[in-house]
Symmetry: C2
Subunit: 171 residues, 2 copies
């Protein structure tokens, strides 16, 4: 099954993390692949890396917008590494019940990875594993290929009142 969490609201990644915990609770094997999120910044990373049956990979740890054009090149190289890793999962025997591709929609939006290539990989991978892709701006073709799509829609957010990101909530 192919699942997409998209939209401009909060909850795309946290819902995927909730799914990881749900799957692990049933003794399932999970692979979480994060883009642009560093390794020890988000609170969940500190818990997840201790859990049994979870393979946790982080690529392009620095968000490209922090590093100008040079950052874009480095991020693209890292995203292609991530894609190669996902392709290996798609081609090999089934290892994971759930594979989470966190923020891959952003890598698509930035042109770091090609939609056509990702869709081909997903077609194969989602036959053996449940796959969740997160990130705003999911492309229409990805949505039409998916089985379950949720739009996390911002109704109200404190950022709009100038309130800064809070530890334990935003990261």
């Amino acid at each position: 099954m192919l699942i997409v969490n998209t939209g401009n609201g909060k909850g795309k990644t946290t819902a995927a993390i909730g799914q990881v915990i749900r799957a692990l609770g049933h003794g399932q094997k999970v692979c979480l692949i994060q883009l642009f999120k560093g390794k020890d910044f988000y609170g969940e990373q500190l818990i997840l890396k201790k859990l049994k049956n979870l393979e946790f990979r982080s690529f392009a740890p620095k968000h490209p917008y922090c590093f100008g054009n040079k950052g874009h090149e480095a991020a693209k190289t890292e995203c292609l590494k991530a894609l190669k890793f996902v392709k290996k999962l798609a081609k090999g025997r089934k290892i994971y019940d759930l594979v989470v591709l966190d923020e891959f929609n952003i890598a698509l939006r930035e042109g770091y990875i090609k939609l056509k290539v990702l869709l081909e990989i997903l077609k194969e991978l989602s036959l053996k594993s449940n796959v969740i892709i997160t990130g705003r701006c999911a492309p229409r073709l990805l949505i039409s290929s998916a089985d379950l799509v949720t739009e996390m829609k911002e109704v109200k957010h404190p950022f709009n009142k100038g309130i800064r990101a809070e530890k334990g909530i935003e990261f």
Copy 2:
């Protein structure tokens, strides 16, 4: 801060669970109060109850729709117990950085708990703890009192094709 996850789509509870994991990762103390969800049915429950710094309470474990009118009465009694517990948290000294009230919107919708009473409790509680309320059909007054509201909007769901709930995804 008062946070609401609502809407007809998937991800309201899982996003709250993701927030629990995020907060715990930063060493924060968390209280998760679930309604209508049993104790060992959802995969996440099996992981969560092993985690340090998390107080996990389950009320009205049987969903009222499974038990006709008698079920409604029993569920209401349990929801009022849950509300009493939340009120105690609101009145006492701060213990938890995050309090999750899972499916409390359903208890409101069913008339098991009164919106006015809950809002008064939340006003006090959200001054000391971040509070997340989940469940579809969040009432307008709750939304206007909240700081951060996300609507999880169903774009596509396999249930609509007659596909049944899958272990590790829906529970």
